[in-house]
């Protein structure tokens, strides 16, 4: 077990210092670059934008000194998952397949730059975002900073590790089945998947166009709100209202198979929230057992559609496992895809029904602690389960339904591995979900900025 970086101020703590000139953007960039260099063995970054980031930091310092402060992200180094276009850098998608060479930034990157953020580099990922463990990537396996023999999750693993290790202060991730929330849970960071289509996915290599989301990964919920606001391109504000909430814990399929320590953490969080006068009750999401089948029959053909020409010309450049998952998507029958789309509507209605009368669903973000690298099965309640199924089970439903969801640190296992809880809100109510999550974070994680799992 290792101890990740300790100088982990949040964006919200740094922003006033940068605005006053007490901390310079150049110092922040240099600190991040030094951390990237010091921990190269974790394989966190694919491209480090040293020269550009230092130049952008100098410009930010001049603007701030000249009275042109753009807001809380001005002068703050952030990372971008290497599935997202950044002008002038290759978009590798973590693959040996020839990269894209975009001339323009993805809109989400442009908005962060407009808010004054400095792009420090592009982070490693599970190849083409098609996996949850990041042991299939052309740029080296991403190691969990809490135990390098374990996975950092995926697919946005580089983003999560970069936050834990102090290599950036905010990160862009993407999430098609849990790829923001899973590495956040595995590494003890905050990860937000907003409502479907709330943030634009243009300029991002698609996996499944009807399930793809992009969002911020940060060290606190407040930082996620700051990043979300910048990525939205418009103020989102803070929802005021009651400070006590009603939570629904799903019963049945979703939580029937949890690692013992994850279940204990859920029980502990539930008790803590009740002690703070929140209401926590059980809710049923009708029909949720079909979720993995619906997910497969939507994601596989959508992924295969994008990759078909690349598979025809560069099949051997893919990792073998990723290639097989993409190839198999080409065999599905259209009638079964349509069945999956119909059942997705029913699942969406079931989640809406479960959210009726409550502020957020509460469940773990990941059913197990970070698994050992290379493992294909994990044992839960004494019986084996495929790692991929165990890692996706609690998150993929909300990619199908488009509801906003956020992972928040919720303590660690006895071995010191982070555990993450997940809150799910109503569609189009991402801002309200962030307000709920800020309250929860303060009560279950030992306060904002408790990266690495908090004290709970």
């Amino acid at each position: 077990m290792t101890t990740p970086a300790t100088d982990l101020r949040s964006i919200s703590e740094l922003a006033p210092l940068v605005a006053r000139g007490d901390v310079s953007p150049s110092d922040l960039v240099r600190r991040c670059l030094a951390r990237i260099e010091a921990r190269r063995e974790l394989n966190v970054f694919i491209t480090v934008m040293t020269g550009q980031a230092l130049a952008d930091a100098d410009r930010a310092a001049r603007e701030i000194a000249g009275g042109r402060h753009r807001g809380p992200l001005h002068g703050i180094p952030v990372s971008v998952k290497d599935l997202v276009d950044v002008a002038g850098t290759p978009t590798t998608a973590g693959s040996a397949v020839p990269p894209l060479h975009p001339a323009t930034d993805a809109p989400i990157v442009r908005r962060l730059r407009d808010a004054g953020a400095i792009i420090i580099g592009k982070t490693n990922l599970h190849e083409f975002a098609f996996g949850t463990t990041t042991d299939e990537t052309a740029f080296g396996i991403v190691h969990n900073p809490f135990d390098p023999a374990r996975s950092a999750g995926g697919s946005s693993s580089g983003a999560a590790v970069a936050l834990v290790e102090g290599m950036c202060y905010g990160a862009i991730g993407t999430d098609t089945g849990g790829s923001i929330r899973i590495p956040s849970a595995a590494c003890g960071t905050v990860g937000l998947k907003a409502t479907y289509a709330e943030l634009p996915c243009d300029g991002i290599v698609p996996l499944s166009t009807t399930c793809d989301h992009v969002g911020p990964m940060t060290r606190s919920v407040t930082d996620a709100r700051l990043m979300f606001e910048a990525m939205s391109g418009a103020p989102v504000g803070i929802v005021s209202g009651p400070r006590t909430f009603t939570f629904g814990v799903p019963t049945g399929h979703l939580v029937e198979r949890l690692d013992r320590e994850v279940r204990e953490a859920l029980d502990r969080v539930r008790a803590t929230l009740e002690a703070h006068r929140h209401v926590v009750r059980d809710v049923d999401i009708q029909g949720s057992r079909i979720t993995p089948d619906v997910y497969l029959y939507i994601v596989l053909p959508e992924a295969s559609q994008y990759h078909a020409p690349l598979l025809a010309s560069h099949a051997t450049a893919y990792s073998p496992g990723v290639r097989l998952r993409l190839e198999v998507g080409g065999y599905l029958l259209a009638e079964d895809y349509v069945r999956a789309l119909q059942l997705r509507k029913a699942l969406t209605a079931a989640v809406e029904q479960a959210l009726s009368g409550i502020d957020a669903l509460l469940l773990p973000a990941l059913s197990i602690p970070a698994p050992p690298l290379g493992s294909t099965t994990v044992e839960i309640d004494g019986s084996p389960e495929p790692v991929r199924a165990a890692m996706l089970r609690l998150t993929q439903l909300f990619n199908l339904t488009g509801h906003p969801a956020i992972a928040v640190p919720a303590g660690r296992t006895r071995a010191g591995l982070p555990i993450g809880m997940q809150l799910v809100g109503g569609r189009g109510q991402t801002t309200r979900l962030l307000s709920v999550a800020e309250a929860v974070e303060a009560q279950i994680s030992g306060g904002a900025g408790s990266v690495g799992g908090g004290t709970g």
Binding site: P320, R325, L332, D336, L343
Partner: protein, 53 residues
């Protein structure tokens, strides 16, 4: 197409392409397709009669 015929044709194609490693994945997909079809049938039974003329 029924699932058994689909699986047989898909596995034969995987063999023809020199990708026998696809067969376990195709078998898993066949199980998922069966689940989808059962769920779809159940959903139909609960729907109101009628629909487009």
């Amino acid at each position: 197409m029924n699932i058994e015929d689909w699986l047989r044709a898909a596995c034969a194609d995987a063999d023809r392409r020199g990708l026998p490693e696809l067969k376990p994945l195709l078998e898993a997909l066949a199980r998922s397709a069966a689940n989808l079809r059962r769920a779809d049938d159940a959903a139909r039974e609960t729907r109101q009669p009628g629909g487009p003329a």
